[in-house]
Symmetry: D2
């Protein structure tokens, strides 16, 4: 959905994305601790084992866990493991797998088609999913085999557990598996105040891609199979696809530290808080319109041109989307001061006439 | 776009598709003549050479020609030869490559994405093509690399040469190549009364998939590269993709007979005529509406339920599309009697109240 | 294994391959009969149904049958249906899937590796297969998932049923599936005098690619799944891979005629006879050496240069393999006169000094 | 070539591989420095730009540089960019792309075949390369399009610049491109005492995969295109293949620090020294045989069973290869004390009778 990124002479990248921040202190400390001596490579080390166990504890289920390098790979490998090339994946038309992975799902699966469903606020509606499942049942069209949800969505909105359950029930009743893109899963959990299990396997999610990068790690995305049968030979799939790290310890260690003590949620809670704060601070700015409910760490605004111009002068960088929406993302590293600076500039720009 | 095929207890397949007919007498005779003695296999025979020459003559250019088994393979291989996996192909949302090839373009190209443009009557409009070319220019989205046109379109309509020229000029100005799906190319030429060159390379088409099957051959689709550079190693591509026939002579011989003497157009002219006749015969039927201009051999009608019911009783089979449109296809083998039978049944059904 | 094909100024293609012949009278008659009126396309016609039934009868099992265009596609699709991309296929180093399909198995499966086993006379030996299964059991190497046999082999030799049983037992004991490349399956059955069942599912073959082209059809290869579970969605796989014929009737009808009455074996018996005759006629030629047991329709000879020269002067075309072996193939269309002509020229050439 | 990895109850991983070590102090410090504030993601940051410049300086050429996550991806993407699916890559039968990447080159290229050449000490011999280039020139076999060399080889040996020049000249004369797998490129340069340019583009290498991981980085492999034309759209290829890091700064920063001041060679020099020391210390051990010249950081030994037993008791882990060879790898982190400990245990084991 992204159309234009503002010119790169900008000076402030705080809100351009939640991956413009670095590695959080806690994740860094965990990596430093893991940087000791010699350890087996390719995930046969104690950190990787402990990290997998930590996921099992946090999700309250004996899941199977794999660590890969980025979200594109996590989503694409998970989808490929659920599909054959002649299958299709139903997702929202604004889903990241459709709009921002450069055809990676099609590449990893050797041709699986994405079928795009609609629905307000970036969320799939039951009827459009049902329509896509039913509209073609002949061999001349790829057969729907997976439903892909995002938590939060690309528009920063959230499904409630009961909404997910309705969608997964529909999917499962037609034999589809359910994938969840959780690149900002921690933001979803922090915002909803539910347990990870309540947002995933307890409401029918089969595979979750749980993002570490946007949660403050350097790079590490966990692919979590709640159904172990679906994970069969996923290790081979990762290896062949160039997603098996030799020094896996550095991708695993931060999870070991941050999952058990709940600190994985701190940065995301803070990010969510910053987003809410930004919305609050600009709520009276004339001609500035919030485009979608702000439920996690993304704020989409419709801005008049004078505000765009002012923000540009002030050096802010952010994505502009088709139709003119501006996206501001908060992360674990966002400071309240920065939020106030940005809000002030938005209000200033809006006040100009 | 196809949604439902009517139940298969039907008795009359005349209009279900233009591939429910057999092999035309002329094509059959050519195959029979080629069925003599021993000949080199894999296309090193005299018929294949003569067929390629016949294409060069008919198209008035030193093109490169390859024969493959069906239209899905022809389109997919041609597109794959113009693309890398991280590219995209712009086509109409009703194009056969999108709606009826089960993800073959994505499969053969290892992931190339189809970008769907709109436009009335199954024809691409310049502005939607332009929009798709321009909307994303970043590496997070597959880069448009091919424009795919159909002649005729899936809705049985036709681009005029000047319309094609406008589209290809737009495409070429952005570095895109132009592919034409000509599974019914003969119908297009017969209807427009132009030379093959005038509808293809003279108006900017780079590669044409020229269908033989629907023109009366058993199976044989020609992939015609007007730009020989683009054809480099296409023979390897065909071989690896399981599209190199050992007994190629049978796929080549009919072209040798039918291209030079113009008889390749006879069956298609007849088919176009039958479609026009059908439209004329049902033009006064109440509540029966022609959905698109009938410019080649396809007739799309909106029929009231009572007509559907009546046609079902009478044993007619045809495709029903999303929204309720009914498609009737004419071929080289369609008889005027059958057209009159069908028209009579449509009118009878419509007259019932 | 093929290295050089002799120059294409040759005049006699009788023995170059068993696909330099045309369509046999019986197959032609069946196609002619099927060329009547309108029939459902894509295999929903009565001929395709009857052909599948004929296979079930001949193989004495409720198998699942699909028709594709050529042997490369048949083998590659069958293998792809048994594999994931990170798996491997064990085959003989001279197997057609390795030496003459231009990487098609790797292409259709999106990367499956072929592991090459040895064994005398083109036949897999148990120990080399066992070695390949066992040598690597780690995720850094593709996991063996299929054993591929050929009947007859590329060198014209034959496995006996009990040899096949030993190989399939080994394969199955390690979880591998068994594929049989039967591009000349009729030659194997004709030579061994066993029932089709005895050479396939009764000795552990899971999927057979049964060649029609080299048996006298124009083009039609049957993929026969003895285990129906393995055939799941194979129709989708064929469609997406450009291997679903619209006018399927022409690929099915010859089987309907030739399987039930046993005539499918006549041409192959004749071909085998011609090969044996050739061997007999040249057995006293000096310096001419038979390279492998002649058990079906292929004769491999080591010829001194003077014989190559003489055959070239006489216009014979044939394949020359690495190491200098010459291959002469007999087909349903080979005449005994031609065999005698060729034998005479070989003997003449050999007699020159 | 790897066959068995010793049981994982071992305690000492020092020599199991050169990726069992962690991140070197210099690389760590660079990452720490880069972990400041907000920066553009996906490689648009100052560190990535500076790193690319550093490569240009060290290689004395205006090369194009991309950073990916691991060596499997680097090699596979580089090869895929030089090939079509119907091409083949010539490499040594012991090359990592063949033996330890689980079919990744075939996967990323959608089916490109690896053709295995021989040659003593893991090095390609001219005649076997020439043989593979020439043996098949027909469309039934994948056309050789790339020669892949390794520096050092998987057996720890080294090509001299003039040897590389001979191989690349042969390759180029037949239209092949040349890829170098330099996962331990620093070890090669440190051992040979030549400039990077002298081992690469000055002797005909087109693309180098320069490994960071085994040089002491956490993960970062540089794909260096000396011919910029070949790099066209490689950024799209990386993105689609899940190899574009959002927080690229951490993969780039260590190179910025370590390339310009020459410190990238320190760890590798030390590793090479440790390997030489090990060889020296065990040279008198009875029945212990060095298998290949020790030219970089790998030591391959043939050990009698009593030595294997003793090493196992002492808790050493290492790879055992087909035929019984044992591989000991040294890295930047290997201590001389550990080398002496290992050597002592080898000698003790050998002395037992």
């Amino acid at each position: 959905m992204r159309s234009v990124v503002t010119a790169v002479n900008e000076r402030r990248w705080d809100f351009a994305s939640d991956n413009t921040s670095g590695i959080s202190p806690k994740a860094w400390a965990a990596m430093a601790e893991a940087n000791e001596g010699f350890l087996p490579s390719y995930g046969d080390d104690k950190y990787t084992e402990a990290a997998a166990d930590a996921f099992r504890e946090v999700f309250e289920i004996d899941c199977e866990v794999f660590f890969v390098f980025n979200g594109t790979a996590a989503n694409s490998l998970a989808l490929a493991s659920l599909c054959q090339s002649y299958h299709s994946v139903i997702c929202h038309e604004t889903a990241h797998v459709e709009t921002d992975e450069c055809g990676a799902p099609e590449f990893f699966s050797n041709g699986t088609k994405l079928l795009l469903a609609g629905g307000p606020n970036g969320k799939l509606s039951l009827d459009t999913v049902d329509h896509l499942i039913m509209k073609r049942r002949d061999i001349h069209y790829p057969r729907p085999h997976v439903l892909s949800l995002s938590a939060p969505t690309e528009l920063g909105t959230l499904y409630r557990p009961e909404e997910i359950r309705e969608l997964t029930a529909l999917a499962h009743s037609h034999g589809l598996k359910v994938h969840m893109d959780g690149t900002r899963f921690a933001n979803a959990i922090a915002a909803l105040g539910v347990n990870p299990a309540q947002l995933t396997w307890q409401v029918g999610v089969d595979v979750l891609c749980f993002g570490g990068t946007k949660t403050g790690l350097g790079l590490s995305e966990a692919v979590v199979f709640f159904n172990r049968t679906l994970a069969e030979e996923f290790d081979y799939r990762c290896k062949q696809a160039g997603q098996l790290a030799s020094k896996m310890r550095f991708m695993a260690a931060p999870w070991v530290k941050m999952l058990p003590d709940g600190s994985w949620l701190e940065g995301s809670s803070h990010a969510n808080h910053c987003a809410a704060l930004l919305v609050d601070l600009i709520k009276d700015a004339p001609d500035v319109e919030r485009l979608f409910p702000v439920e996690a760490n993304a704020v989409f605004l419709r801005l008049p041109q004078r505000v765009h111009d002012h923000l540009k002068r002030r050096g802010w960088s952010y994505y502009i989307f088709i139709g003119g929406g501006a996206r501001f993302m908060c992360s674990w590293a966002t400071s309240e001061d920065a939020v106030r600076d940005l809000a002030k500039d938005i209000c200033e720009g809006a006040a100009q006439t």
